[in-house]
Amino acid sequence: MSARGKKLELVCPAGTPAAFRAAIDAGAHTVYCGFNDETNARNFPGLNFSTEELATSVAYAHKKGAHALVAINTFPRAGAVELWHKRVDDAAKVGADAVILADIGLLDYASKKHPNLRLHLSVQAAAANADAISFYARAFGVKRVVLPRVLTVQEIAAVNRDIEIETEVFIFGGLCVMAEGRCSLSSYATGKSPNMNGACSPASHVEYREEDDELVSRLGGFAIHRVGAKEAAPYPTLCKGCFEAGEYKGHVFEDPSSLDAGALIPQLAEAGVTALKIEGRQRSRSYTEAVVRNFRKAVDDYAAGRPVVGGALRDLTEGQTTTAGSYRKTWR
């Protein structure tokens, strides 16, 4: 069966109410965001939504015929699960169209307490095959899974053949090299866990310093990059760092580059994907505006049978280079 003409849902990030409106106005079908605390995986200073801001934003989305999703996708700390429960209740109360969860205990809570609230499985749950996904669908009634960035397009197609629920895949933005929700690298260097505290490479532990004409970035005191004056600077994430291992010196894990799978939209549609996700709740509204507009045109072009053009957004990306990541098998 050909997917030609299929309408893909564009799921866009918002770190602030202003970015939320910018995403909707630029053509987002759906916007995802989080509360301003450790209950979501982009818990950065100055970012995210109070309950009141979320209520206003959800109403704005609905007025414009768009959807709003709320990510509550960290793993509740032992002894503090009430905060996460409250956030699920808050999201339900303001009329969010779905919550994006990762923790089993929280999924169990949400499915029992809010049987009518739609549940999406966060990429942080790292459900990478049809059987893992089916477990979450069966146990908690999950309706959509955000696929980990470890699968090829062929593997995504195989997953979609074997599951009953929708899939959402990342199309653009920051690229985790490790299986998400299963990575303690940042926690190892800083003591702040992305899984529990909601921030990879927390700014409180990042230091930039100019040393001998090089920009040196350190995380928790560990040097992770040295870049020359004219080179593109990367995020201070460990998995994109420059290290030495045996004889090898360089990016042991991944080059500082971002995902841009725009050119693969037709293949992803044919692989049975329902929605395309843009990463970047930590980015500005100008980023949101530009990326959403660009990808809305791409999915509209695809739906109308026009050729899809990609690659116009390189300047916005980390390292200013892009990759199709795990979607192509050679990446491994």
Partner: protein, 184 residues
């Protein structure tokens, strides 16, 4: 789509002339601007949280002076200083004036400017991030902020302010009034 490589620099001749300019009037205008800004954008503070007590050095690298910003809730200040007199600060944000203005106005993306090395960050990274995110949410329109400086005469000042910032924006290649933004 804007391109980071196109960020214009303040003309060297102008910068050389400014080297001898008295900073007091600039500091007075700055103090007034930041007070007005904070009155008009109270949510800036809820976003800044405890970072509001930090000292920021806003450093337009193509100008002969920088700005010390203390967004403190009760006594906010924005003071023009020579670099050598900048004193202690918690965080420094450096880059061409156009990049800094564009950032405030929301036409540039902070991370992209950082990747392209147009923006330099030093010191307290958490404070920088909080300030950047808080400002980005305010949808600051520099023209209306300048107009607001005129208090009760705001409506009288609005049109000239818009014209001035439009001219300034044109000069820098950055749209500084919302009407100029191109939604094509």
């Amino acid at each position: 789509m804007w391109n980071a490589k196109d960020i214009p620099l303040f003309p060297a001749v102008g910068a050389a002339m400014l080297r001898f300019a008295p900073l007091t009037p600039l500091s007075m205008a700055g103090a007034h601007l930041v007070k007005t800004l904070i009155r008009r954008h109270p949510s800036l503070f809820s976003r800044l949280g405890e970072q509001a007590d930090k000292v920021f050095l806003i450093d337009p690298t193509d100008l002969p002076f920088a700005f010390r910003l203390q967004p403190h809730l009760e006594a906010p200040t924005l003071e023009a200083v020579r670099r050598e007199d900048a004193g202690l600060w918690d965080a420094r944000i450096g880059g061409p004036l156009a990049a800094l203005l564009g950032l405030v106005h929301g036409v540039y993306d902070g991370d992209a400017l950082f990747f392209s090395r147009d923006l330099v960050i030093e010191g307290d990274t958490e404070a920088v991030l909080a300030l950047r995110n808080a400002i980005d949410n305010e949808e600051i329109d520099l023209a209306s902020e300048i107009a607001a400086l005129f208090g009760p005469f705001e409506h009288v000042a609005a049109t000239p302010a818009r014209k001035v910032s439009s001219a300034v924006g044109h000069f820098f290649g950055v749209a500084l009034t919302r009407e100029n933004e191109n939604h094509a």
